[in-house]
Point group: C2
Chain length 334, copies 2
């Protein structure tokens, strides 16, 4: 069980017979400390099990060397990839990363973000937040902030996204090339990027002369959302021969709904997802999808953050181009 109180720099100083300043110098690896004193301090610290108090350090230095990352949904494997990128880029820059999650609920997201803000992280990365732009902009006023996987032309922060509109078009173009006309879309409503993916879908449909076949049902970025969406598509009206789903997670739900309804994929209906998560690559799933490199986006976000932290400011909105990954859930229409 934890003992009375963790040892402080003062305790170490007393035991080593030096001043706390000297201990501080040793801990930070200063060159201007005599070898014997250093040894004495190191020994004393080890004996006491001294561990520097990051809270006190952070208070006096006005810098935490921590970047905060708010994840909109920890169940979406796409964000695990973003985490990888953020974490490795942060480590490269001598920073630590700490996460949070908002469970897709704006209120929870705001609270998670607030927690990070109160902790005075040096930079904040928001991955796929459903938060209002107003809240994001407000936060950006007090800390360097970068948005990942959600576009925004707003000022005051940077963003790194893929071109969701282009991605949506890519999906449609692929299906059109296969000969589909009745291509439906399961949208994720207000989810990050959902609007653009939908717009990409609609415009590409129009360009292909298929305006009359545009059909959008609302869902979400979750399995349940995709399942429900597909259920509705299969139930009512003229059945589509292909469905472009808002993301992989939802696409997997859609696949499930098709399986449950005895509808063959891609025999009866083709399905396209979005994100190219590890899930999509599983042999049993083998989902055609749009690739959006999560780890890279995360790493770029941190680099932008570093520039802001260093004072090199300029609202940069990086947009990477998505690409199509064809697997076995798409084929010619029946």
């Amino acid at each position: 069980m934890p003992e009375g109180r963790p040892p402080t720099i003062k305790d170490v100083a007393d035991r080593a017979g030096v001043s706390k300043s000297l201990v501080s110098l040793v801990m930070r690896g200063s060159a201007k400390v005599s070898e014997e004193r250093r040894a004495a301090v190191v020994a004393a610290a080890a004996e006491l099990g001294y561990r520097p108090n990051a809270v006190a350090r952070s208070l006096v230095r006005q810098r935490s060397h921590v970047v905060g990352l708010m994840l909109s949904d920890i169940h979406n494997p796409y964000f695990a990839e973003v985490v990888d990128g953020v974490e490795s880029a942060a480590a490269l820059g001598g920073y630590r990363a700490l996460f949070n999650t908002g469970s897709r609920r704006p209120a929870a997201e705001r609270e998670a973000m607030e927690t990070l803000l109160e902790l005075r992280v040096d930079g904040l990365v928001l991955a796929g937040p459903v938060l209002a732009v107003r809240d994001i902009a407000a936060a950006a006023r007090s800390v360097p902030l970068v948005l990942v996987a959600r576009a925004s032309r707003s000022v005051g922060f940077d963003s790194v996204t893929n071109d969701d509109r282009r991605g949506g078009a890519l999906a449609v173009e692929h299906l059109v090339a296969l000969g589909h006309e009745r291509i439906a879309h399961i949208s994720a409503g207000s989810g990050a990027g959902a609007r653009s993916r939908r717009t990409g879908y609609e415009r590409a449909m129009a360009r292909a002369g298929l305006s009359s076949h545009i059909r959008v049902v609302s869902g979400s970025f979750t399995e349940e959302g995709g399942y429900e969406g597909m259920r509705r598509l299969l139930a009512g009206g003229e059945r589509p021969t292909a469905v472009f789903v808002a993301n992989d997670l939802a696409a997997i739900g859609a696949l499930q709904a098709a399986d449950d309804a005895g509808v063959a994929v891609p025999g009866d209906v083709s399905v396209v997802g979005y994100d190219n998560t590890a899930l999509a690559a599983l042999g049993r799933i083998d989902l055609t999808t749009i690739d959006q490199p999560g780890a890279e986006l995360g790493a770029m976000a941190v680099e932008l953050l570093f520039e802001r932290i260093d004072g090199r400011v300029g609202d940069r909105h990086i947009v990477v181009t998505p690409s199509l990954v064809v697997r076995s859930t798409t084929g010619p229409p029946p």
Copy 2:
């Protein structure tokens, strides 16, 4: 872009024409403040965009109201469930949760844990760490600590796990009941719980009089580990008719290897996983597995943590009983 310096309690006090102590009282919702002063303070805080500095508060109160959670692997959906449980239980107790990840590498895990420790979290939850017990025990000496999804009879901290040995036996018993004899195991080596699952497998095999059929290949708690393990099992020697894999993620890799080798599941070989993650429930995967309720384990861990934080100490090692979930990857031997 962030302005010069975030406003402090002092700035608010000046603007409202009161002392910093009064502002502090208002911020903490004290009842003994006159209505007019309160209003003045609230207004001043809003105008300045004041946000309390958790770092300073944490320093003086010697309490952060944050529980730290170190995740061994953010790509394993099982841990996302643990996060859910931890987060909701923490919120219930008025605490915030902050995560970290160690990417299954002991050195990285130690660093992640150290980060949390330096930040002086009030409690630490370690989910499935591969860290040495020595390191865990050392950390437990300075902070209330609970281990999740890894057993340990050590003193100084609590743990919440499922009975991995029983789980391993459950898998074997199910397969034996189906008529299998050549049941192999893909182990996760030094991963948390791996040893016990293996022991459970071995003992159950012995109990069933199948000692001579015991066959263990080493893998890991990842898809690649499972893939490789299955590849080896299918390649060399007498082919098993059933395989118990260390966890769902690895089992999915194993499934893939079987598919790639043209081996039918469960026609030629049955496969059992562990964890009962959302992955296993996917229709396309439909994996027979051992259920270990992640969210519940996470929530229980936080409750134990709270008891320790409140000083009610006692090394408690909670072990929940796993259960078998039969799906379609298991069947009678060919």
